[in-house]
């Protein structure tokens, strides 16, 4: 084993592999930093260039890129509250509040230190775990996958926000949204209302970017401040050093998160999507003082950022050893493997073990190099938090909308992002937590399929009590819920703080959100009555069986709280005026109006005109900048759209009425 590890290390350093590894790292940093791109897009673009290359440099290039996207994605998660990739969603919960408090450099320092640590420890853990990997992976069948999804969702549902009821209800809402489109088990489309765009279901990336990104940009625009609400206290280097010290302080959490990342990462299909949430949930559960989670607790950055890098090496093993890719990214790596004349299988853990180790080494080395580079750049990047917000909003909105556009190159992606942005804004103002909604959207299809497969393969109920791992996970779910009910593990934001996720108290804004969700549930229930196939209706009905009573209880609570608010005010209208003022509704609606106008212009003249026009108009009206600044910014935006998204990414822009 040790000999194979050393041979693998020598392979990883054989020339010209290091050169290609560096190239892959630089590209991975760029792809991870731009929201919406993700490692799979980069790998797909790079794969054809590796066809003619030797095995070692080809994998150095691909693995360099694959490994570091989940390091670089923390830039937008921490700076803008927008997940750079699907693996960094949990980071925003505490990373962005830290940036708001002027501590972005500290968050970067911690994030990059643990990213490097996670990458290396993940690789080492993998090496010592090779003998038990096959039995471990085989122990997880479809019932275990289903239960693990339920556990992840339960943890996030009860951990984020003040209200357990709202956390679980909004998770049900998210699960219901995943039932839009074709049901895999029957091939029958559901809830698509004759709209072809909905046949494939709601795309995840526009939803994530809209739900988290648009409300934060809206807030920056409305408040007119910089991302950081306070002036810089110290230099970037000091902040980064503080972040690194934080990692030492929380070293055991870092190690436990690396363990979670490595072993959950090995589970094909589930690992990448859930690993950061499970690590975040563990950080909250294991903390004595939970009051700062959601308001800028550095442990909320350390745990997910360790886990999402540690999982990369773990995810490689099922791909090379069993030919089971767990994601599009690993599927492309599998393709690269066979193109290089290698065959995945037990040979990769015996005869070709040095090569397998060289891949694991390359992931570990790439993580360390990327973390070092990003730590160096972080001394400059953190300064963005102190730039006037009006200069940030148009540029980031452009990148966000183009990130959403990558999903299907359809204007429907923008509408989904805007709709979810509006929902996200109302949820944020009304004290509804957003993370359970996102995780439900990520896990919904997996849960439905694994549930239905479990009942087909193992019978209707037997799998619920006859499989030991399922029973253990059920107990964990039960314990999580009981502890949450007793308020033991739920993070409790300070009473005077409304900054945390789901912490806002504004019942008159919460009420419309509750009514919308209740209406969606009611309409879905009515539609499911007409489904002819049992399997088509099964999952929506199961969700509604939980969701409908919960939403009814929340409705009652919101009505009572709203009545209380009205009674405490001078009049009904005074209460509403106060609620609207508190939520800064008029200015927020004006911002949405700006976006709608830009959408309209896109239909007429296309994105290459509409987005630069939005940038210029925003800067001159909201930011009160003079026309030379607006013009220069708009020109830069047009160039970015044309060069990066048009020429390099080959994205198909919207066909406009004027220019086709």
């Amino acid at each position: 084993m040790i000999e194979s590890m050393l041979e693998g290390l020598a392979l990883a350093f054989s020339w010209p592999s290091p050169l290609y590894l560096l190239l892959g790292i630089f590209m991975g940093i760029w792809i991870g930093a731009v929201p919406g791109l993700g490692g799979a897009v980069g790998l797909a673009l790079m794969l054809p260039f590796t066809f003619g290359m030797d095995t070692a440099p080809a994998f150095a290039l691909l693995l360099g890129m694959y490994a570091v996207t989940s390091t670089a994605d923390s830039i937008s998660s921490i700076m803008f509250g927008i997940p750079g990739t699907v693996a960094s969603q949990a980071t925003i919960l505490d990373g962005y509040p830290l940036a708001k408090q002027g501590q972005a450099a500290r968050a970067f320092g911690a994030a990059y230190t643990v990213s490097a640590f996670g990458g290396v420890v993940g690789a080492l853990l993998l090496a010592v775990s090779l003998p038990i990997i096959l039995p471990f992976i085989n122990a997880f069948g479809v019932p275990e996958f289903f239960m693990l999804s339920v556990l992840g969702l339960t943890m996030v549902g009860v951990l984020s926000g003040r209200s357990l009821l709202k956390g679980i209800a909004v998770a049900c809402f998210g699960l219901l949204l995943t039932t839009v489109g074709y049901a895999d088990a029957t091939g029958v489309p559901r809830f698509y209302f004759g709209v072809n765009y909905l046949l494939d279901g709601l795309p995840l990336i526009p939803i994530v970017l809209g739900l988290f990104g648009i409300p934060e940009l809206m807030e920056l625009a409305v408040k007119g401040t910089s991302i950081s609400r306070v002036a810089p206290k110290d230099s970037g280097a000091a902040g980064i050093l503080q972040g690194m010290k934080d990692v030492l302080t929380h070293r055991w959490l870092t190690i436990r998160s690396a363990l979670i990342g490595t072993y959950v990462g090995m589970l094909p299909g589930l690992g990448a999507t859930i690993v950061d949430w499970i690590a975040y949930g563990h950080a909250v559960q294991s903390a004595k003082d939970k009051s700062k989670f959601g308001n800028g607790d550095i442990r909320g950055v350390i745990a997910p950022e360790t886990a999402n890098n540690a999982h990369k090496a773990g995810a490689l093993i099922p791909t090379v050893a069993f030919g089971i890719p767990g994601s599009i990214g690993t599927a492309i790596l599998l393709g690269a493997l066979v193109i290089q004349g290698l065959r995945p299988g037990p040979d990769m853990l015996t005869f070709d073990l040095p090569l397998t180790f060289s891949m694991v080494w390359e992931i570990a080395i790439a993580n360390v190099i990327a973390a070092g580079l990003l730590l160096y750049f972080a001394r400059q990047i953190y300064k963005i938090a102190f730039v006037p917000g009006h200069l940030i909003v148009p540029g980031v909105m452009t990148v966000l909308l183009m990130g959403a556009w990558i999903a299907t190159n359809s204007i429907g992606d923008w509408w989904v992002a805007l709709a979810m942005g509006t929902v996200g804004y109302l949820m944020k103002q009304g004290g509804w937590p957003r993370p359970p909604l996102i995780l439900a959207l990520v896990l919904g299809a997996l849960m439905e399929n694994n549930y239905q497969l479990s009942t087909q393969i193992y019978g209707q109920y037997a799998w619920l009590y006859s499989r030991p791992i399922v029973v253990i996970i059920e107990l964990l779910i039960l314990i999580t819920i009981i502890l949450a009910l007793y308020g033991v593990i739920k993070p409790k934001p300070k009473e005077d703080s409304e900054a945390g996720e789901g912490a806002a108290i504004n019942p008159l804004i919460s009420l419309p959100v509750t009514l919308v969700i209740a209406a969606v549930f009611a309409v879905a229930f009515w539609i499911t009555l007409g489904f002819e196939q049992r399997a088509t209706a099964q999952f929506p009905n199961a969700i509604l069986a939980i969701g409908l009573p919960l939403i009814a209880m929340i409705l009652i609570k919101d009505f009572v709280a709203s009545g209380q608010t009205v009674r405490e005010s001078a009049s009904f209208f005074a209460a509403w005026r106060s609620a609207i003022r508190k939520a800064e509704l008029p200015a927020s609606l004006a911002f949405i109006g700006f976006l709608l106008a830009m959408f309209g212009l896109t239909y007429v003249a296309g994105q290459l005109v509409a987005l630069p026009a939005f940038v210029a108009a925003y800067l001159m009206t909201w930011g009160s900048y003079r026309w030379p600044v607006a013009l220069a910014y708009a020109a830069a935006t047009a160039f970015l759209l044309w060069a990066f998204y048009g020429e390099l990414m080959n994205l198909l822009f919207h066909r406009s009425l004027l220019f086709g």
Partner: protein, 357 residues
């Protein structure tokens, strides 16, 4: 010839040229310096996307004038959106081509979302993606055991998925006692479940078989191959594929275990479905109204790629074999046959699929 007649002839010729867009002399340089956009109805990194990207690299070199080919992804509508775009929106000038996994079963079943009529879109060329069936050896150690073993589990994606339909029709023709387990998200998921013993039988692409199933299951004694789904010749008769010569075709397999040629209503339906949904998996088509001369250039260059040794070498690396090509004439006929569905066939298929929903 009078000046007026000459003038009217010139006018007529110029009108014709402006309508067709090219002249015979101009064919060679029609694409010179141009960009051809290749639309794929799948996400970046998916099998369909990688197939289109790989093929396009060779295709652009075979087209006179050596235009640049740019692949653009247009997923959505269960794969139907890209064909709707090709039929309704894309310019019919040869510079816009659809090259995507076909939606043959969707066309036959008239599923929601597919508005394009494939028979109206000029067929340029296609590639077949062969597939095969295997079974785990835990319950079935020889092909003959397949008929004697009860309650085998056949794993699938969806009742309307191509390989699920082919697998069910084949198993029913054979009279195998099996349970159809559906809802897996792709072939890799089913293979993983087979490895864990949750399903016994899978119909998998030949590529997946060569690179994942054969080394990790078959060579370890954990599974045996059963049959491959054959091609259909111009005479309508099935023929065994060279690229899967180590695995019997379904007809050969049936004769081995049953001692007679296959027959029965399920087999008749299998024969009807096979060419329509299985003989062309990746199809290159042009928008309706694309000038015939331009389509011919694209057809000739497409066919030239499939014979190019460099392409074949790369295809062998990528799939383990060269995807059998489908010519323009055969492809055009197959696309037209998608709409040649009798009420009896439609009723049989609808009822057959509804049985497992």
């Amino acid at each position: 010839m009078s000046t007026g007649r000459i003038f009217s002839l010139l006018l007529t010729a110029s009108v014709l040229l402006s309508v067709t867009g090219i002249t015979p002399q101009a064919q060679d340089d029609y694409f010179e310096g141009e960009t051809i956009t290749v639309y794929v109805g799948r996400t970046p990194g998916s099998g369909g996307d990688l197939a289109a990207r790989m093929f396009s690299r060779f295709w652009q070199e075979k087209i006179p004038g050596e235009p640049t080919m740019v692949v653009r992804n247009m997923p959505g509508g269960g794969g139907a959106r890209v064909f709707n775009y090709g039929a309704e929106v894309a310019d019919a000038d040869g510079k816009h081509v659809i090259f995507s996994p076909t939606a043959g079963i969707e066309a036959v079943l008239q599923t929601p979302g597919l508005r394009a009529n494939f028979s109206e879109m000029p067929f340029i060329g296609g590639l077949m993606s062969p597939n095969m069936a295997y079974v785990r050896t835990e319950k079935v150690t020889t092909p003959e055991d397949l008929l004697a073993t009860a309650n085998l589990r056949f794993g699938g994606n969806s009742p309307i998925a191509r390989m699920d339909l082919l697998g069910r029709l084949a198993l029913d023709t054979l009279g195998v006692d099996y349970q159809y387990v559906t809802g897996f998200q792709g072939g890799a998921d089913i293979f993983n479940a087979a490895r864990r013993g949750e399903v016994d039988i899978q119909v998998a692409s030949l590529g997946q078989y060569r690179f994942s199933i054969e080394p990790t299951l078959v060579e370890q004694g954990l599974a045996i191959p059963l049959w491959h789904n054959p091609g259909t010749g111009p005479d309508g008769e099935p023929y065994a594929l060279d690229v899967a010569s180590d695995i019997p075709s379904f007809e050969e397999f049936y004769e081995r275990v049953r001692g007679e040629p296959p027959s029965g209503p399920e087999y008749e339906m299998l024969r009807w479905v096979m060419p329509r949904v299985n003989d062309i998996v990746y199809a290159a088509m042009a928008p309706p109204g694309t000038p015939h001369e331009v389509v011919e250039i694209l057809r000739e260059s497409f066919a030239a790629v499939t014979e190019d040794p460099a392409y074949q070498e790369e295809a062998r690396k990528m799939y383990g074999f060269v995807l059998p090509p489908v010519g323009a004439e055969q492809g055009t006929q197959l696309m037209q046959s998608l709409y040649d569905v009798t009420p009896e066939v439609s009723a049989f298929l609808t009822e057959y699929i509804d049985q497992v929903r």
